[in-house]
Amino acid sequence: MKFGVIVFPGSNCDHDAYHVISKHVGQPVDFIWHRETDLSSYDAVIIPGGFSYGDYLRAGALARFSPVMNSVKEFAARDKLVLGICNGFQILCEAGLLPGALIRNQELHFVCDHVNVRAESANTPFTHDLKPGSVLRMPIAHAEGNFVCDEVTLRELQRDERIVFRYCDREGQITEAANPNGSRDNIAGICSRGRNVMGLMPHPERACEDLLGSSDGREIFRSLAGTLAAAA
């Protein structure tokens, strides 16, 4: 299995993602510059965190027009796996690969902290190794992580079990106090209708080593690698 990490001008978690795939997943991985368009040799691509195009206009708004994004759309349409982390989640929403939008945090602050999220669905290629209801501790670092969507979209996400992660307290309770940015329904991550595209604000790639405060993120990459191994 082969992974690609897409690099936009302003991406800054690309090396973290690369490190985790090569060291912890133990699989080949390439950086893919945003002007490239050939994704045919990859089984999964990661759209990493950072500040693509300086977050100009809106977070993720300009990255969506990079040449590689048309290829990512085709890649996703072929049921290949796409994981968007933080700015990657924002880009996937702007590109229409995921519903909703991420706006300025409710309290305006750039929030840089470790948070707890509850796995709401094990029915995705990224979470099937997780026990539903299990709590993962991962860092967040964003100013625009406040997930918004209309009522109809929210109902659809809930009905189809497409809300994958929600902010919770240490015990796994979904509370307002545990919501770091005002996200609707405490949503921290969602997946596409086909379940092969997932976006989340927390950084699993920065939570793969105990030295960094948590290794819970490994469970996501283990699920992802397990899915690809089963398909091979």
Binding site: L57, R58, A61, F65, C93, E94, P99, G100, A101, I103, R104, N105, Q106, E107, L108, N146, V148, C149, D150, G182
Partner: protein, 84 residues
């Protein structure tokens, strides 16, 4: 033919919370400005358009740009004015 100017105003939909506008309103009130019930922050774009396009086409182009790039229709509305 002189250039035209397309002015595009992008605003958050009324249903979308505007934390920045709220913070600005708070500061303005601290300065003593009274009678302000709400402040919403938006974006403003000035686009120089070739005069040969004609007003209708300039408007159509600016509206398309506003819809596809300058705004995110999930959270924002836009308004276009053409200055000839």
């Amino acid at each position: 033919m002189p250039n035209m100017k397309a002015k595009v105003y992008v605003t958050l939909k009324p249903s979308v919370l505007d934390p920045q506008g709220k913070a600005i309103k708070h500061s303005v009130e601290l300065l003593g400005y009274g009678g302000i019930s709400d402040i919403r922050q938006g974006k403003y774009f000035e686009i120089a358009v070739d005069g040969s396009l004609g007003e209708d086409q300039a408007r159509a182009e600016a509206e398309r740009m506003a819809r596809e790039v300058l705004s995110n229709p999930i959270i924002e509305d836009f308004r276009v004015e053409i200055e000839t």
